[in-house]
Amino acid sequence: MLLPLAAQQIDYNSLRSVVRLTAPEKVSASRNESVTVDVVASMKPGYHVASNVAPNFPLKVTLAENAAVELKNVAFPPPKSHQLAGETLSVFDGDFRLKLTLKVSPNAPIGRTMMTNKVRYQACDDRICLRPDTIELKVPLDIHN
C-alpha cells in the first residue's frame, strides 16, 4: 500500500478565506426574551455560496444544543441567480446578512452562556468548488433578569 501523498505536494498549504462572518462580540438579553443577532457574511470576490433554497448543500444555520437559548428562525436575503455550465444556480455572493432570531429560556441561568452557531455552506467560483464545510460561530450571550 502506497503512502498518501503529502499535502504539500499539491500545495494545499496556502490558506485563503472565501467566507468571512461578522457577528456581535456579545449579546445581552433577559429571560424569556427574543433576541435578533445579525450575522454578516462576506464572500471573497468571485465566489458564491449555495443559497438557503439551493437543491444541493443549501446554506444552513443551526445552534448547538444549549438549554438556555433556542434558535427560532433564520431570515436569509433573497437569493441571486447565477449561470454556470448551462444551469441556473441559486446563490449568495458579495456581502449578505443573516438575521438569527433566538429565544432565551424562561429558566435560563443568569450569567454568560456561549451560543455556538453552525453555518454549513458550499462555495464555488466559476472554476473551482470547495467541498461543503461548516463554520462554528461563537457568540456570548449575557442573560439577566
Binding site: 500500500m1 502506497l2 503512502l3 498518501p4 501523498l5 503529502a6 499535502a7 505536494q9 499539491i10 500545495d11 494545499y12 498549504n13 496556502s14 490558506l15 485563503r16 478565506s17 472565501v18 467566507v19 468571512r20 462572518l21 461578522t22 457577528a23 456581535p24 462580540e25 456579545k26 449579546v27 445581552s28 438579553a29 426574551e33 433576541v35 435578533t36 468571485g46 444541493n56 448543500f57 454556470l84 455550465a85 448551462g86 444551469e87 444556480l89 458550499q122 462555495a123 464555488c124 467560483d125 466559476d126 472554476r127 473551482i128 468548488c129 470547495l130 467541498r131 461543503p132 464545510d133 463554520i135 460561530l137
Partner: protein
C-alpha cells in the same frame, strides 16, 4: 439586547497557490476567447525524477465491479475528482468524453472519481443524462486522503504509463492544457530533471 462591539471570524478554507495561478490563467483565457492566435499554454508535466507513484485504490464502479488503479498500468490515465453538484466539473465533462473517445485506442483512459456524499443515488442519473463514456467510480474520504486531501473540485491528476503523477490540476483549466499533456505522455515524451527531452536524446543516440 445590546451589542458590545463587533469581532471578526475568519474562516479558513484550503485553496492553493496553483489554483489561484490557474484562476488567472483561466481568466486570461476567457478574456482572450478561443481564437487560434491565442498562444498555446505550456504543458506542465513534471520531470521524470519528480513524479511520485499515484496511490493505489480499489473502488466500485456503477456495475459494482472493483476498479484498481493498478489495472491501468501501462496507460496514460486522467484521474478526475468531481461531483454532480460542482458546476466547473460539468464544464470539463464533455472534454473528458472527447478525450476518452479520441485516445482510448492509443493507451489512454479517463477515470472519474465521483465525490458525491449521496453516492450512486446522485451520480447514476447524471451519468445517464450526460452520456459519460468513461469509467466512473465512487470516491470517499479515504481516497481523498490518499491523494493529499481533495479539498476542492475538480481536481485532476494525469498519470504516466508507469502509474506516476505527471501533473496535477486543481480547478478548471483549459481543454488544451489537458490535451497537450495527454498527447505528450502518449508520445512517450519524457523529461529529465535537467529539462532535457530524454526521448529525443535517446532517439539521437540510436
Amino acid at each position: 439586547m445590546s451589542y458590545a462591539g463587533l469581532s471578526r471570524y475568519n474562516v479558513s478554507v484550503q485553496l492553493n497557490v496553483r489554483a489561484l495561478a490557474a484562476a488567472f490563467l483561466c481568466a486570461g483565457f476567457l478574456l482572450t476567447g478561443c481564437n487560434s492566435e491565442r498562444p498555446k499554454p505550456k504543458a506542465a508535466l513534471k520531470t521524470d525524477g519528480s513524479r511520485k507513484p499515484a496511490p493505489e485504490f480499489a473502488l466500485k464502479d456503477i456495475d459494482g465491479r472493483t476498479v484498481n488503479l493498478s489495472d491501468y498500468k501501462g496507460k496514460v490515465v486522467l484521474l478526475n475528482f468531481w461531483a454532480t453538484w460542482c458546476g466547473p466539473c460539468k464544464i470539463e465533462i464533455p472534454w473528458l468524453i472527447d478525450f476518452e473517445q479520441k485516445y482510448k485506442d492509443r493507451g489512454f483512459a479517463v477515470i472519474g472519481v465521483a465525490m458525491d456524499d449521496d453516492g450512486w443515488q446522485a451520480v447514476k442519473p447524471y451519468l445517464a443524462q450526460s452520456k459519460i463514456n468513461y469509467r466512473v467510480i465512487l470516491g470517499d474520504d479515504s481516497v481523498s486522503t490518499l491523494y493529499g486531501g481533495v479539498e476542492s473540485l475538480p481536481t485532476t491528476f494525469i498519470l504516466d504509463q508507469d502509474g506516476k503523477i505527471a501533473s496535477t490540476h486543481i480547478g478548471l483549466v483549459s481543454k488544451s492544457d489537458y490535451e497537450n499533456e495527454i498527447v505528450q505522455l502518449l508520445k512517450g515524451e519524457r523529461r529529465s530533471d535537467a529539462g532535457h527531452d530524454v526521448t529525443a536524446a535517446r532517439r539521437a543516440a540510436n
